[in-house]
């Protein structure tokens, strides 16, 4: 009994979509745009989160050495650091290596570096912690101890940078949800408008259905399905476009932007995120239909 009714509701919904193609296409485009916005911001946040994780796995604390410190003294400081209980490894980066590394990452800035006349990059010792998640207080105590050494000028805890990147990621998610949410609201309004026009165009059919004993669900079903289909299809299109952006961005724009491109690139959505996006699309479609039905079908 239920299966033929569901099949019929599905057929009616598809027939409606086919019958009023132009208006459905418009609502589909608005829905896809709304969910593409959310998808892209989430994809950006994913990339930032990944970069932050990478940063926290990389050299955890960097100790900058005083300019003019001899090589032998630098090695002594490095040995002192490596002896620390928290430290897995300490790599000595001399000033020249630091300059080369910078120029390999920012080749466009070579002229600027040359114009300074001297190497502006200090020698440093980059450490890797035994436990990347070691308590911040313990790491800071260790940093204070080493900072007291006369050969050490400054110390920077990389986790702070990673935390900053994570914060930007969270901000991207929030902006995506806020801005995307507004666009989704617009999509709900558009879907509701389209369903309303369909209800008005099919008033005669609804009247006949009522007279032959159709239940509320039987009359409303096709319109709810119609909204659901638009929402799911729109968010699925957005999902495909987001996936395409995460693949195409590194190939076309990522290289040109260098490290900034790596940081602010797109990363594919996770399965729960993708499913959530499509489910939210379906929800938006259903909501749009429900509004129209509540407004126009008082049966």
């Amino acid at each position: 009994m239920i299966l033929p009714k569901l099949r019929q509701a599905g057929k009616d919904a598809l027939r409606n979509i086919w019958l009023f193609k132009a208006r459905h296409l418009a609502s589909l485009a608005v829905t896809a745009l709304a969910f593409l916005t959310v998808g892209l911001f989430f994809s950006l946040a994913n990339n930032l989160r990944l970069r932050a994780d990478e940063a926290s796995r990389e050299a955890a604390v960097v100790f900058y050495l005083r300019p003019g410190l001899s090589a032998a003294e630098s090695v002594l400081v490095a040995e002192r650091i490596e002896a620390g209980a928290l430290v897995a490894r300490a790599d000595l980066i001399d000033a020249e290596s630091a300059r080369k590394r910078f120029l390999s990452q920012f080749p466009d800035l070579e002229a600027v570096v040359q114009s300074l006349g001297r190497n502006p990059f200090p020698a440093s010792i980059e450490t890797t912690l035994r436990d990347p998640d070691a308590p911040t207080e313990a790491v800071q105590a260790f940093m204070a101890e080493i900072r007291g050494h006369p050969g050490v000028e400054d110390a920077v805890f990389n986790r702070e940078g990673a935390e900053r990147i994570r914060s930007i990621g969270r901000l991207a998610e929030a902006v995506g949800l806020g801005f995307g949410g507004l666009l989704i609201l617009a999509a709900v309004v558009v879907i509701s408008g389209v369903i309303s026009l369909n209800i008005i165009a099919r008033r005669d059919e609804i009247e006949i259905l009522r007279l032959v004993g159709a239940t509320k669900a039987c009359v409303r079903g096709p319109y709810l399905l119609e909204g659901l289909l638009i929402g799911v299809l729109g968010s699925a299109i957005a999902l495909v476009l987001t996936a395409a952006a995460s693949r195409l961005f590194p190939a076309f724009a990522g290289g040109a932007l260098g490290p900034i491109g790596e940081l602010f690139g797109f990363r594919a959505l996770s399965l729960p995120q993708a499913l959530g996006l499509v489910a939210a699309g379906g929800g938006a479609g259903l909501l749009g239909s429900a509004f129209s039905l509540a407004r126009l079908l008082k049966i």
């Binding site: 009994m1 239920i2 033929p4 009714k5 259905l209 032959v212 004993g213 509320k216």
Partner: protein, 221 residues
């Protein structure tokens, strides 16, 4: 058994569309309700399929007071009633098959059974060869016969027809009345409203005459 007990209906005061109408129709009866335009025929039918409710009075169908039924429980009642309208009320964007199939679709009838029943109903009205046409391709008489096929496709206990011959020429009108007689012979209670007394000269059945909302006469022919 259908019973109207002291039924009054008022749309706009002070005039009454129906005034103190009481009547009863037995199961399997063929009845005609006549009267000029505005006499209350359509109101009487609308009350029977609960499109509207009375201002006062009781309406019993099969012992159930249908006025007390909430909106959400009207569908079982309407599934036992077939209605034919003067303006046919066919769905212009749907083929004849789909128009006739509507009452079966809302019941969730399986596809095979549905096709068989639609074909039988269309054969009864002589339109099985137009099954895949759109209503716009049919003449008025054919459209009315499609509407009758839709009304009887799920074997209703009660068939109501509101001026079913109003848009047809006399020859076709006679054919439609003959169809109702045929449906009645198969055991369905049939109530036909018409203003055309001449049409009923050669028909058998109970006659109710309405005038300005009042039941004037009721007789068996």
């Amino acid at each position: 058994m259908i019973e109207l007990i002291h039924v009054w209906k008022q749309y706009h005061p002070p005039s009454w569309a129906l005034s103190d109408v009481s009547l009863s129709i037995r199961d399997g009866e063929l009845c005609f309700v006549t009267g000029p335009s505005g006499s209350g025929k359509t109101t009487l039918l609308k009350l029977l399929y609960r499109e509207i409710g009375p201002t006062h009075g009781q309406i019993l169908i099969g012992g159930t007071d249908i006025i007390r039924l909430p909106e959400s429980r009207l569908h079982p009642l309407r599934r036992t009633i077939g209605v034919v309208f003067q303006d046919f009320r066919l769905m212009s964007r749907r083929r004849v098959f789909e128009n006739v199939a509507v009452p079966l679709l809302v019941l969730g009838t399986p596809a095979k059974d549905l096709r068989r029943k639609v074909f039988i109903a269309l054969r009864m009205v002589g339109l099985h060869h137009r099954i895949w046409d759109y209503p716009s391709a049919l003449s008025s008489g054919e459209q009315q016969r499609v509407a009758i096929a839709r009304a009887v496709v799920n074997n209703p206990r009660l068939l109501l027809a509101d001026e079913p011959t109003g848009n047809l020429d006399p020859g076709l009108a006679g054919e439609i009345i003959a169809l109702f007689e045929e449906i009645h012979r198969q055991g369905t209670t049939v109530v036909v409203c018409t203003h055309d007394r001449k049409l009923l000269e050669n028909t058998k059945g109970r006659l109710f005459a309405l005038h300005e909302g009042k039941l004037r006469r009721s007789r068996l022919r």
